[in-house]
């Protein structure tokens, strides 16, 4: 599934759900050693209740990237930044461990961000990056990456396009703990998603 954001028309994000991942340790090692074939954002799917929650974290990343002039990124890549923005916590290592690939996570959400450009180039890019050629090119790249994901991740890979896919995968107890929900915890997924979106948007302000 390709996610698009009308505010940033040149940006496209590939979103994939990998279930029953078998080579989680290999992936973790490869990500840490910055292997090019593993240049994706790997998210522990147990922490996620809805596609909205994922998109909200990406939206926050993009907003910071383009408009926060002082500090567009707190980590060294947009992918790590998205994981950090999925966490209510400002501690980078801790957030990556909890919300990225963590021990015993059998299901991953894999994202890749395309068409970012530099923070200050947004205006020009709107006009230059979008012509059909570039768009076709991008389609090819995305297809290649999708294939690559299927190659490097030993799992059942499906495009993530609705919340139903996450039922049974998200771990509500873990969410309650990681987001420190306490009394606020609700089991209704729609309400929970709304709650998490607000928590994410307001963290570290």
């Amino acid at each position: 599934m390709i996610y698009k954001y009308p505010q940033f028309p040149h940006v496209q994000v590939l979103g994939v759900l990998a279930t029953n991942v078998k080579n989680i340790d290999t992936i973790k090692q490869a990500v840490i050693s910055l292997d090019q074939r593993y240049d994706y954002c790997f998210i522990n799917a147990a922490n996620v209740v809805s596609v909205e929650q994922i998109n909200c974290a990406i939206f926050k990343t993009l907003t910071n990237y383009y408009f926060n002039e002082k500090k567009p990124l707190r980590t060294n890549s947009v992918h790590a930044e998205t994981i950090l923005n999925l966490s209510p916590n400002a501690n980078i290592t801790d957030s990556l461990n909890r919300f990225g690939i963590s021990k015993g996570s059998a299901n991953l959400i894999i994202l890749k961000v395309y068409g970012l450009g530099g923070p200050q180039q947004r205006q020009q890019e709107n006009e230059s990056l979008l012509p059909d050629d570039a768009a076709k090119d991008l389609q090819g790249v995305i297809q290649r990456d999708l294939q690559n994901i299927k190659d490097v991740v030993e799992a059942e890979v499906a495009e993530l396009d609705n919340d139903e896919q996450l039922v049974g995968i998200s771990d509500l107890k873990l969410i309650k703990k990681n987001y420190k929900l306490g009394d606020m915890m609700v089991e209704d997924r729609e309400v929970l998603s709304r709650l998490l979106v607000s928590v994410l948007q307001l963290s570290d302000l």
């Binding site: 009308p6 940033f8 609700v186 709650l195 302000l205």
Partner: protein, 327 residues
Amino acid sequence: MSVANIEKAESLLGDIKLKKISQGAEAIIFLANEHPYSNERNCPTIVKYRPRKLYRYPVLDLQIVKQRTASESRIIFKLFQSSVIEFNKLEKKKNSEKIDRSLVNYVINNGGVNCPKLIGLDVYNGFIFMDYINDTLVNGESSSLKNHLWLLEKTFADSLSEKLTVHNCQSIVASREIEREVVALNSKIKDLLVLTGIQLGNMHMFDVIHGDLTSSNIILKKYDSENNNDELQPLYIPYLIDFGLSSQSSLTEDKAVDLYVLEKALESTHPLFSKDYSKWVLEGYELAYEMKGKRENAAKPYRVKHREIYKRLEAVRLRGRKRSMIG
């Protein structure tokens, strides 16, 4: 100035198309045709934009915009969060018996507050994205409480004047009396205002002060219930909006002033019936405290709290909004 700001907002929002709905001193409200990040297309969203003020020193200006945008969003979140917590308490008490979680019940049964959903935040440019909770009234106006009441008042006045010409009634005083009687009977208005009052009570119990309560800052949303099939008189549920001047405070004074501001606003927008309207809102307000007391099995402390605020409100009525004469 205003045109430049709108253009600026449009350029910052890329492909999102904006339609200006209203403008205040500090912010412009737009209706956007797209949700900023949802997969669903064509999902209208409210965008509140605080433009930069050119007369302020830029660094300070950035800080002010950031801080105000953040604080408004925090209030919206706090109301939602507190509502959820209240609801959880209730559910626990009922021994995990599942209760209908529809938003209406958040208000009526459990002491919550209806407010817009916070979708996104861009503190660097001063954008808040919220969900669009508007409906249109029968006459095509947007469904704020003000428009709704005006419509009902007008319909009522029209039918009354029709009757008066028929009956050739001469006494103006008598007609005023009739007018008042009939409106008082109009339970639709009463229910709505009591429901608003309940929400205000709940909001104050969360220690949130709205700061700018007027009938146009209360939006009505149609509630589709199975029992209500009356197309012309749909059931409306009030939502509180515009937390730009809101703050968090537990002081009796602030709460009383909040209610006083609403009273004054009702007086100037609905001069004929403001007394009844205020009375109903305060009825709901009291009910909120009563229900909270019942839920917590501590009727007395909440009754005392309510009485304190009510007494203070009477004092505020005599002296006006400002306690100190400075500033």
